[in-house]
């Protein structure tokens, strides 16, 4: 089904564009409805046939992947959920991908949040990702969700010296002193990698300014496309990498899929959402090219004639 769909779509779109390109070489304009039709096809075919494109990770994204890969198994990775439901479609694929990758590599994962809304979203991640996909991982040993504490960057100010001043227990009320994963952890400085996922305030910027920079702790980020450009000045010194928007998520997902056969069938909302997007962008670009072709050939015709 999937393959047939891809073949059909590719044939339709490629032949159509070819026909249009040839037409425009004679300087003829394309009718608007044909453009509309192509746009409709470009978005609906990937939706119906579930067409996806393999992404090639940009260095900003690959750096995070390589960092998690290169850490020895059992390293401590902290993932902060700094977003709410409205931003979730864009950044939730990122936090899920980070959790999957870290656990598959055998790292210990600590989930927290600087946004009040982040707590329920991290709980969802435990419920929907960790428990069903990693049944052998034990809460309190391999992963823990310590939840949200009020105070924005003030929280970071505290936990960079001592976790237990802010967090006495995890979300289930279990004392942090009694869980295995927190043995030997005093502060953020004991983390091997911190990842902030979110795009507002507090978010990646606050993690850089109040945790990564003063504590000299490796930090990675994931953010909505809107705010991603503003974080580049921190890369790569204070921020080892950054996933920007759904495209960043898709790149990370394809990187995981490439290296981990066990994730071949995992849901990849990032890649999936990029399917129609990519095709639509290609169509728009194709029409820009075709438009210019017909423009130049029409002009030449006029000059010749």
């Amino acid at each position: 089904m999937n393959n047939i769909g891809i073949i059909i779509s590719v044939v339709i779109i490629v032949l159509g564009l070819l026909w249009l390109a040839i037409r425009s070489l004679t300087g003829r304009e394309v009718e608007r409805r044909i453009i509309f039709l192509f746009m409709g096809l470009a978005v609906s075919l990937p939706l119906i046939f579930n067409i996806t494109f393999s992404e090639k990770a940009t260095p900003v994204v690959r750096n995070i992947f390589n960092k998690i890969e290169s850490l020895p198994a059992g390293s401590r990775i902290l993932i902060s959920f700094d977003y709410g439901p409205s931003m979730a479609p864009e950044v939730e694929p990122m936090s899920n991908a980070f959790i999957r990758h870290s656990l598959a590599k055998g790292h210990k994962v600590i989930l927290m949040g600087l946004w009040a809304t982040g707590q329920s979203l991290s709980a969802t991640a435990v419920q929907d990702i960790i428990k069903p996909e990693f049944p052998d991982k034990i809460d309190g040993v391999d992963y823990i969700n310590i939840g949200y504490k009020a105070g924005n960057q003030g929280v970071l100010n505290v936990i960079i010296t001592d976790f237990r001043k802010m967090y006495a227990t995890d979300v289930n009320g279990v004392n942090l002193d009694s869980v295995a994963i927190f043995k030997g952890i005093k502060s953020l400085r004991d983390m091997d990698l911190m990842i902030s996922v979110g795009g507002g305030f507090p978010g990646v910027k606050e993690w850089v300014l109040f945790a990564a920079d003063p504590g000299n702790i490796p930090l990675a980020g994931g953010s909505a496309a809107v705010s991603a450009p503003t974080y580049y000045p921190y890369y790569p010194r204070q921020l080892i990498g950054l996933l920007g928007g759904i495209k960043g998520a898709a790149e990370y997902e394809s990187e995981i899929k490439k290296h981990y056969p066990r994730f071949a069938d995992m849901p990849t909302p990032g890649i999936k959402m990029m399917g129609p997007q990519t095709l639509a962008h290609l169509i728009v670009m194709a029409f820009i090219v075709i438009g210019n072709l017909s423009f130049f050939f029409a002009k030449r015709k006029k000059i010749d004639g």
């Binding site: 394309v30 608007r32 453009i35 509309f36 192509f38 746009m39 409709g40 978005v43 494109f53 393999s54 992404e55 090639k56 990770a57 940009t58 260095p59 991603a228 450009p229 503003t230 580049y232 920007g244 495209k247 790149e251 990029m274 997007q277 990519t278 639509a280 962008h281 290609l282 169509i283 728009v284 670009m285 029409f287 820009i288 075709i290 438009g291 210019n292 423009f295 130049f296």
Partner: protein, 225 residues
């Protein structure tokens, strides 16, 4: 008289609001006036709704072209108005929120208003494509710059950009198209936006002063009625 009083009102209201920013005791006037504005706008709704009904009933009465569709507008308007003003089917009665779940008002919003609005909005995807075909042509330098900037950004948002330029070493990563797209967003794009915003702010200041001083008064109409 008919013209001078309105000009005086604009002058007094505008000056008082500007001064209120500098004098904390009257600072809240700005908030009050905004609420007043909203309340006046509710009265204006009667004007608007009345105008809508008048135009369409006129069409129906005169059996103008497409008068049948005007019936649709009038019926839709009255139906929704009744649902909202009388809070029909509203589980909470008069005290509840007008759009409480289960009310007729909310149903009509969810299943008529919302899909229609979202679909109109979605038409943009098509128009973006047709506009880029029609208008992105390298006619002159300006148009070419526009075209190139937009093309780089588009390319940077697809895997194609990375496949084409991923081989460029990290120390020259600015030449990789996704990075170039980001650079354009944070540098020249920012500069252009900023120039426009500064200009607009000055324009607003100057226009506001003209209004307050009563120089710009087209909105008042003429006086020879």
């Amino acid at each position: 008289m008919k013209r001078n009083i309105p000009v005086a009102i604009t002058f007094i209201v505008g000056t008082v609001l500007i001064l209120s920013v500098f004098f904390p005791p009257v600072e809240r006037m700005g908030e009050d006036f905004s609420i007043f504005f909203d309340i006046i706008a509710v009265f204006a709704f009667f004007l608007g709704g009345g105008n809508l009904l008048r135009i369409h009933s006129d069409k129906i009465y005169r059996k103008q072209k497409d008068w049948g569709f005007s019936v649709v507008t009038v019926v839709g308007f009255c139906f929704m108005l009744a649902a909202g003003l009388f809070k029909l089917w509203n589980p909470g009665g008069i005290a509840a929120d007008v759009a409480a779940p289960g009310s007729l008002f909310q149903l009509m919003y969810n299943w008529i208003f919302n899909p229609l609005g979202a679909t109109m909005y979605a038409l943009l995807a098509f128009y973006v494509a047709s506009a880029s075909y029609r208008a992105f042509r390298a006619k002159n330098i300006d148009a070419t710059i526009l075209l190139v900037a937009s093309f780089i950004i588009l390319l940077g948002r697809t895997p194609l950009g990375m496949y084409a330029t991923g081989w460029i070493p990290e120390s020259f990563s600015i030449l990789q198209i996704p990075n170039m797209a980001i650079w354009i967003m944070v540098s020249p794009n920012l500069a252009g936006q900023r120039a426009i915003m500064i200009g607009i702010a000055l324009g607003v200041v100057s226009m506001s002063l003209r209004l307050i001083l009563g120089v710009e008064r087209t909105y008042l109409g003429v006086d020879n009625e």
